[in-house]
Subunit: 210 residues, 2 copies
DNA sequence: AGATTAATTGACCGACAGGTTAGGCATCCC
DNA sequence: GGGATGCCTAACCTGTCGGTCAATTAATCT
């Protein structure tokens, strides 16, 4: 890569970073290209050299924000039992949203707004969402077969409920000021709800997972 | 009221109605005063006669939208026991958000913005929110004293968890297409989680509340 | 070195935003 | 009836928006 190209790449990155920040906290229509230019310490015209229109810039931001969302948790921790894997999955979700709070916030705001842009987005988000839930369903199903989990509910219902509870934690975190999420209490809650017997015997649910 | 005054009231209402519709579907910054004027079939200047600024119009819309939110569930169903009251409270929440989906959506979108506008709003919403939770805390506390509820958690923790779960249901409802909320399953879930013993003895949790 | 091409800019444009002004009709009060 | 007041509008003002353009700088190619 020539020095010229890398220089262009740098300015492109600066622009994307600035736009990301502004779009996330102020929204699409409330953010002007001049603001982006100022925050990126670049001329407005340069933005239009990198990105044809404001929408194109927005979509570029969207894609960049989505990158960290594609992770496979399947590989990790094969040797743990179903209960521990389930709890780890719960922890993963909460840590992820508290690490990526600003982009989660951003996506939520988009999803709540016009369907125009969010249609393309919501499809991707939904895919992540349902694959996450599918993993939970499978884990809970296996746990039940092994007798680890004594809930009377079907794995699907239980997983839906857990996901709902996690989403609830998410919006509590986003809206109700409060500091960072504390996954431990949520994990314990799920542990008690799903694996009550085992939990009483071995209550170190939170730590066993860290 | 003179015919003149009622005429003014009518036009004011028309403006509020139009603004409500546009703000809700397009957001604050994406809606222009000219659009509001067109939809309300009045001149733009008239809007500025009724409301000093765009923000003032917005706040008026906000307050009108908030009206149905002020309801006291304290009066209803005094004769029910704590378990039934708790479940009824859960049902109330879910029915409310599914009835007022569009304005809930609207408020959520506003809360996500870091604007001055939402500060006045978020205070009110937060007040509703915490008073709702306080009711849950108190009910669960009383239920525990009476031995109806055997969870090891403190009433505060349990209430927080329930509220989170409800919020999770809310966002599931708002985002994941699915039809109307079915409160029954959520109620049963809470019932089983909080009043497990009682629930097994008298599983008609959902129906007893309707 | 000179010509080409990529990266970057300040100045500029029409469109439209929120908001104002001057005035036209009613209606009300005396 | 006649001025004051309330309701309403067309036309206007000013600033900012997304976007363009001609020109400038700096690296690359031959």
């Amino acid at each position: 890569m020539s020095s010229q190209e890398s220089q262009a790449q740098d300015s492109r990155d600066e622009i994307l970073k600035a736009a990301m920040h502004l779009f996330a906290n102020r929204g699409f229509h409330e953010t002007s290209m001049s603001e982006v230019a100022r925050e990126a310490r670049v001329s407005k015209a340069l933005i239009f050299w990198h990105f044809k229109t404001k929408e194109e810039l927005f979509l570029a931001v969207l894609n960049r924000l989505l990158e960290p969302y594609f992770i496979d948790f399947a590989e990790e921790s094969q040797q743990l039992d179903e209960r521990q894997q389930t709890l780890k999955l719960v922890e993963f979700y909460l840590l992820f949203v508290s690490d990526n709070a600003s982009s989660v916030r951003f996506f939520l705001a988009q999803l709540l707004r016009e369907q125009k842009i969010s249609d393309a987005l919501s499809e991707q988000v939904m895919k992540l969402y349902s694959s996450y839930r599918a993993m939970l369903v499978e884990l809970i199903g296996r746990a039940r077969e092994k007798g680890l989990c004594e809930t009377g509910l079907s794995p699907e219902t239980a997983a839906s409920f857990i996901v709902s509870a996690l989403n609830g934690q998410l919006i509590e975190f986003l809206f109700m000021g409060g500091g960072a999420i504390n996954p431990q209490s949520a994990i314990e809650m799920v542990d008690e709800w799903l694996f009550r017997e085992t939990h009483k015997r071995n209550p170190a649910g939170g730590k066993a997972v860290a």
